[in-house]
């Protein structure tokens, strides 16, 4: 049997012998790779130079994270609880950053790539360090004044790191029995808990919403009832879909739902200029917090104003 010299294998030349002929792709430049290579590993590989304390991260957290995750990481509505938790071996385990996540790098990586939810990859490096530090602080894992940076990163100790082990399945062994395989006298038969299946799809009076937007008619069906929109409002519709709907579609964190006349009446009476000001600069209301531009600082003031017009005119 033909054998390759081990030196060739080590040099990676073995792979070339099976590679297809032809000219596919082009070299990726260092700058192109740097623009996309955002991943962070537990050993800190990939972390950019920067840093911030939990104290410095508190402001960005309150402005950009707390509306969903809560000021103490307790979670609003069904948004993830990220602090506290535990009882992993109990009947009602609570998996949070502090109680469950094995590596702090995961938190940095995830905040950087996917948060804030409506505006991913919009945070500065120092904001990511600060918010990461603050979430660790909310979990009593670092001090308020301690600075998280590319060098101190590996000092963070996560309590649950050693609790993970590689899959051991198949872990159960059933047999292909055909007769007397179970004792019917010992059967305990339990049916479904009432009211949890979303039968709203079939029955309107089930009390169960058929979509995340509640029982409002789907967009296409509502078309006939749409009011005539101003030019500003029409211009704002696409911004609304991309930037506002995440919260204002389902009424998250106290946000008035787009199209909900009663929720908007009191607000509209304050005048469009006030609403636009709140949307651009942020606003703390009784029921929730509107972050400046909903966290989408990439949007122009004009685009935000147009989106507000769309929401107001669609909610009359």
């Amino acid at each position: 049997m033909f054998k390759f010299p081990s030196a060739l294998i080590a040099a990676g030349l073995l792979a070339c012998t099976t590679a297809i002929a032809g000219d596919f792709g082009r070299a990726a430049t260092d700058a192109e790779i740097a623009g996309w290579d955002i991943d962070i590993r537990p050993d800190g590989k990939g972390l950019p130079v920067g840093g911030a304390t939990a104290e410095e991260g508190e402001g960005p957290y309150e402005a950009k994270c707390a509306m969903c995750h809560g000021s103490f990481g307790e979670g609003v509505d069904r948004w993830p609880v990220i602090a506290g938790g535990g009882d992993l071996d109990g009947t009602d385990p609570k998996k949070t950053v502090g109680s469950y996540w094995p590596y702090a790098s995961t938190l940095w990586d995830y905040i950087n790539r996917a948060m804030p939810y409506p505006a991913p990859q919009s945070l500065t490096v120092d904001e990511v360090y600060g918010i990461t530090a603050y979430v660790l602080y909310l979990n009593d894992l670092v001090d308020y004044e301690w600075e998280l940076n590319q060098d101190t990163f590996t000092e963070v100790v996560m309590p649950n790191t050693d609790s993970f082990f590689v899959d051991t399945r198949p872990d159960v062994q059933n047999t292909r029995c055909f007769e007397n395989c179970a004792d019917p006298a010992s059967f305990k038969i339990v049916g479904v808990i009432g009211g949890v299946s979303p039968t709203g799809h079939f029955k309107e009076d089930s009390g169960v919403a058929s979509s995340h937007y509640g029982d409002q008619p789907a967009e296409e069906e509502a078309g006939a009832e749409k009011v005539a929109l101003s030019a500003d409002a029409m211009a704002g519709e696409s911004v609304h879909q991309q930037a506002c709907l995440a919260c204002h579609g389902a009424g998250i964190a106290g946000a008035p739902k787009t199209g909900d006349k009663s929720a908007w009446e009191g607000r509209v009476s304050q005048g469009l200029a006030t609403l636009v000001d709140h949307a651009i600069n942020g606003y703390q209301g009784n029921n929730g917090y509107m972050p400046p531009k909903g966290g989408r600082m990439d949007l122009s003031d004009e685009a935000v104003a147009q989106a507000v017009s769309f929401m107001v005119e669609s909610s009359q």
Binding site: A10, G12, A15, A19, I20, G22, F24, G25, R26, A27, E32, I33, W36, D37, R41, D43, C68, D77, R78, P80, L88, K95, D109, Y110, R113, A114, Y117, S163, V166, D167, R169, P170, D171, V172, Q173, N174, T175, R176, C177, F178, C181, P184, F187, K188, I189, V190, G191, I193, V196, S197, P198, F202, A209, S210, H212, Y213, A246, G249, A250, I252
Partner: protein, 428 residues
């Protein structure tokens, strides 16, 4: 019958038609049984001896619908369970298994799972970057991928949380919600091994990171052995470009493994010497055990099966002959046999495999019998070509407790009542 009519009057449009179709059928089964003639559900003016209206006028011509869509009389749709998730952009919908009669899931009915909504990727701007521990870091365009040697394979994709709502007890009174996080398509694209060979993986390259370009930047670590085995970089589903919901223009397809690793809207593959431990392989998609420890890298979807007829959405409407039908699948290989029990697992009979049985693909089974109003505890049990036998719920709970969320592949029970209705129950 009166109750059905009253309920139907509260509905409208498509919902009403659907409810009437199903509700009347149930009512007919309940009150009339097998002896009654088929009830006239349609418009008598269109039924014999009258000549139907569609016969006496011309229909639509060619290309009236350039793409085409199902008949307006059908009601095939993905559905979601809103209370499962906080918002629709990071959520899941379910395939209507109760309405499907093949191993291929129509592309528009493939279950959905997004963590940051569906990105609208322009294929002209599409790039796949492969870098890290490779000899030649390269960027491929759509044109590059389409020129490379391709393969086509029929494979299922299943979310590992399929059935996960039912670890602690039966919750969902519908097949669509108990098992609908699985779909099966013909996938076409380039073997990942072809691409990795082409860029040249360095000997220390043991893992890849696959990353999407969606708003969640979905990322998963995959061992090199699997990457070089049967993973595919796909651009087509059921013969046409991928649907946006399925990763248009390019997704990863990792056969037999939990759906989350088949990264959609694939933008980047990095080769490394160790896993990255990102959110979706630590915080999520790890399986919590009763002792408080957790399994990680629980990739494979073990053998599973479910009866699709009858089921809660498809009650038995007539006494006499019935073809019990269902689906079986295994992420480890090919379904070799499926057994059925009518008494909650005391006795079992072997069903037939229907049509083709392909590895890591949905496989249909069938059992022809009679039903005469007796109560059934109907179960199916899949066996794959590794010899693995689908376990009971009691076995899984004993090994894993009830808090592991993922990979619940236990034998499922439908309770068929004397009136033909079917309910989801658990036997312990």
């Amino acid at each position: 019958m009166k109750a059905v009519a009253e309920e139907a009057s509260a509905l409208k449009g498509q919902d009403r038609r659907e409810f009437l179709r199903k509700g009347l059928a149930v009512a007919a089964g309940v009150t009339a049984g097998a002896a009654a003639p088929a009830l006239a559900k349609g418009n008598p003016a269109d039924m014999a001896p009258n000549v139907p209206s569609w016969t006496k006028s011309l229909g639509r011509g060619v290309v009236a619908r350039p793409y085409g869509r199902p008949s307006d009389f059908t009601d095939l749709q993905r559905r979601t369970v809103p209370w499962l998730t906080a918002s629709p952009e990071s959520s899941i919908s379910f395939s209507p298994l109760q309405d499907l009669k093949g191993i291929i899931t129509p592309s528009g009915l493939h279950f959905e799972r997004y963590h940051g909504g569906i990105p609208e990727v322009n294929p002209d701007s599409y790039q796949l970057m492969i870098h890290g521990l490779v000899d030649r870091p390269l960027i491929f365009t759509m044109e590059d991928l389409l020129r490379m040697p391709s393969v086509s394979e029929i494979r299922f994709i299943e979310c590992p949380a399929n059935g996960g709502m039912e670890w602690k007890g039966a919750q969902m009174e519908a097949l669509q919600f108990t098992h609908g996080m699985i779909s099966c398509s013909e996938w076409t694209g380039v073997r990942l091994s072809t691409l990795l060979d082409y860029v040249g993986v360095k000997p220390e390259g043991k893992w890849i990171l696959a990353e999407g370009s969606d708003a969640s930047g979905m990322s998963r670590s995959i061992p090199m052995e699997k990457a070089l085995d049967d993973a595919m970089v796909c651009y087509a589903q059921n013969g046409e470009p991928l649907r946006p919901e399925q990763g248009y223009p390019v997704r990863l397809m990792v056969p037999g493994w939990e759906g989350n690793v088949s990264i959609k809207w694939l933008r980047r593959i990095e080769v490394g010497d160790q896993p990255w431990y990102h959110r979706e392989e630590t915080s999520k998609y790890t399986d919590l055990m009763p002792d408080g420890r957790s399994r990680k890298f629980t990739f494979v979807q073990e053998a599973n099966s479910v009866v699709t007829n009858p089921c809660p959405e498809n009650p038995i409407r007539h006494k006499g002959f019935i073809e019990i039908e269902g689906l079986a699948w295994s992420g480890r290989g090919t379904i070799k046999a499926v057994d059925l029990s009518f008494d909650g697992g005391v006795t079992w009979k072997q069903a037939e495999i229907k049509g083709v049985a392909l590895p890591k693909a949905l496989t249909r089974f069938s059992f022809k019998t009679e039903w005469n109003g007796e109560e059934w505890m109907l179960q199916s049990r899949a066996v794959d070509d590794t010899g693995y036998v689908q376990p009971t719920l009691a076995q899984l709970r004993e090994a894993r407790g009830v808090n592991s969320i993922y990979h619940k592949n236990s034998i499922h029970t439908w309770n068929v009542h004397a009136n033909g209705e079917v309910h989801n129950v658990q036997i312990s």
